[in-house]
């Protein structure tokens, strides 16, 4: 599997290791949503540090994942977006509503911690 999904407490951590084809992205989405259900995760962190391009398809998939996990009562956090990739996404006009963002895995976990403490 090109995207290992680990579990840490109630948080699923998916690390995208390399360039994913559209078909790979679809499979990843299915696998992740499956795990969200079976593990009753409260949050999902998706690490895209290794992705050198985040185009419209990838962005749409991430939005879909966020939407579906939200239906399951879980939060999605996107981490590891490279500065150049962030600039390009914004210029391309891609939006990621419904997805929280953090700098990296460490920050993502800290963010979820803060959110939980506030509850």
């Amino acid at each position: 599997m090109m995207v290992p999904i680990l579990k840490q407490g109630h948080v699923l951590i998916a690390t995208i290791m390399a360039a994913l084809s559209d078909e790979d992205m679809r499979q990843f989405r299915e696998a992740l949503l499956d795990r969200v259900v079976t593990s009753r995760a409260s949050a999902v962190i998706i690490d895209v540090m290794a992705m050198d391009v985040l185009d419209s398809f990838a962005t749409r998939t991430l939005r879909e994942i966020a939407y579906m996990t939200k239906l399951r009562g879980a939060k999605t956090v996107l981490v590891g977006v490279q500065p150049e990739v962030a600039l390009t996404m914004v210029q391309l006009g891609l939006h990621l509503e419904g997805v929280a963002t953090a700098l990296d895995l460490e920050e993502g976990l800290a963010y979820l911690d803060r959110v939980n403490r506030r509850r």
Partner: protein, 294 residues
């Protein structure tokens, strides 16, 4: 091989001639190089370099020159010209000096060929026909290589100066301030954005305050850059507060379709910092209270 016209050499004959003159230049390397170095110092070129340095560089230039003549290709020479330029530009060598020394070498070698073939005028003509265009190409390549490298260095220096004049400040842990002052053109806007995003990553910032109190006006293109900066920062996990928004700039933003309701803004930098600190969990207490608590 029949020769039909003096100026049109069959390929084999031209190659053969080139081989002959290259061999001559290699055999007489020491003497010709010495003569060249004498001409260089005589013409007061490469004043910034010591005699040892001139000799060392002259040796490499000579060998690369002859090799370029031999292979009739310029790639290796271009690469050499670049690395030579990288070495001598910091020493303060000027363009006229580089062009000067290459032309001097061309002349020294040409004279040597005159000397060798002076008793055979028709052969001398053929040798020069083979030598001149190649020598001119070489001179051109080295000069252009030097100029390009200089331009690259100058542009790098300008970039460094620009970077110094637009600091991203870390005020508190996780809190960055980017005060923008003066005129912002698209190039500077792009540079500011890249610096800010790098800063967010380095400082692991969660909040950024961009203060544009010092910016008089902003056209739609630059306003767009500002919006993109805010959005890109969010993708890196940093929240952005824009402070010092003048009514004019606010209008420009509205005109390009920005929903100001969605953008976090404060009247001034101080207010922005306070809001940022609160959101980061810092409690700001008046000095007297803090002293009493100790």
């Amino acid at each position: 091989m029949q020769q039909t016209h003096r100026d049109l050499l069959p390929i084999d004959a031209a190659v053969e001639l080139r081989r002959e003159l290259v061999a001559h230049l290699r055999e007489n390397r020491t003497g010709l190089r010495e003569e060249w170095v004498l001409r260089i110092t005589g013409a007061q070129l490469l004043r910034a370099m010591t005699n040892e340095e001139i000799f060392a560089e002259a040796t490499s230039v000579y060998d690369n020159y002859v090799e370029a003549l031999e292979t009739d290709t310029l790639e290796a020479l271009q690469a050499y010209a670049r690395s030579l330029s990288e070495r001598i530009i910091p020493r303060g060598v000027e363009t006229d000096e580089v062009v000067g020394i290459v032309l001097l070498l061309r002349d020294v070698l040409a004279r040597s060929l005159f000397g060798k073939y002076q008793n055979n005028p028709s052969k001398l003509n053929r040798v020069l026909d083979a030598y001149e265009p190649a020598a001119n190409r070489i001179a051109n390549t080295v000069a252009v290589g030097f100029v390009q490298e200089r331009e690259r260095v100058i542009s790098q220096q300008q970039e460094a100066i620009r970077e110094l004049s637009t600091p991203v400040l870390q005020v508190r842990e996780r809190l960055l301030i980017l005060p923008i002052i003066g005129v912002v053109d698209p190039h500077r806007a792009r540079q500011l954005t890249e610096q800010l995003l790098r800063g967010i990553r380095t400082n692991r910032a969660r909040v950024v305050v961009i203060d544009i109190t010092g910016v008089a006006a902003m056209d739609a293109a630059v306003a767009n850059h500002l919006v993109q900066t805010v959005e890109a920062s969010r993708l890196l996990g940093a929240d952005v507060i824009v402070t010092g928004l003048s009514p004019e700039i606010a209008q420009t933003l509205v005109n390009i379709g920005v929903d100001l309701g969605k953008m976090k803004t404060m009247g001034d930098l101080q207010g922005g910092i306070e809001v940022a600190e609160l959101s980061l969990g810092y409690k700001v207490v008046p000095a007297t209270q803090a002293e009493a608590a100790v």
